[in-house]
């Protein structure tokens, strides 16, 4: 069976933790391992923080959009903002690249997403916004162990 949820929330950093719980609680239905859960919550943090800090420059009038789809053992995440967009996507995806070194950003957000997820797709248009789509198939460790 397919199960889906869509979420929209105010672009303020206190909602990062809320987004982690919401996605984590939804994905919990597929019974991931605690490690897989941590990985998924981590990529949610990275993408949501990017939307708030980069997309909206911390303007609380912005809204962050999040979608999660579960089908069999696969989790499909979509994080979207209607913010400033990314001019040079190749540059942005480079490890350690950050456009905001003054905020002590690590420049590792996209690299972390690529490490923890099976698929990472980024669509962005300047002044329109950015959509990050992330896919991960869970390991079914428990099923194998039984």
């Amino acid at each position: 069976m397919k199960n889906k949820m869509e979420l929209a929330f105010t672009a303020v950093s206190q909602n990062e933790s809320f987004a982690r719980v919401t996605v984590g609680a939804f994905v919990a239905q597929l019974d991931p391992t605690m490690d897989e859960l941590t990985e998924i919550k981590t990529v949610v943090s990275e993408a949501v923080t990017n939307a708030i800090i980069h997309g909206y420059n911390e303007d609380a009038n912005g809204k962050v959009y999040l979608e999660v789809e579960l089908e069999e053992d696969t989790v499909r995440l979509m994080i979207r903002d209607k913010g400033v967009g990314i001019h040079n996507l190749d540059e942005a995806r480079q490890p350690l690249y950050t456009s905001k070194p003054e905020l002590e950003r690590s420049g590792m957000g996209f690299t972390i997403m690529e490490n923890f997820m099976d698929e990472v797709a980024i669509h962005s248009e300047p002044m329109v916004g950015t959509t990050v789509t992330l896919v991960k198939t869970l390991s079914k460790q428990r099923a194998l162990a039984n």
Binding site: A25, M34, K41, Q141
Partner: protein, 77 residues
Amino acid sequence: IGEIQRFLRDDGTVKVSRSIKESANKIRKMKEELSKTLGRTPTVNEIAEKLDLTPEEVVFAQEASRQLTSIHETVYE
């Protein structure tokens, strides 16, 4: 620091923060215990069943406690 003590004081009007800390500690211990007995990381349901929580509550307690810890660290820095 006084704020945190008040925060955690047991005066009948238990704040979420306090009860969450207890659940989160149990989750952490259960995760360690099950990792040893199973020889792999436990799944969310395995922990939830042992602690009589829903899997969703496990996720919430873990995250809420992580947030409290970061408030705590900010105060003591």
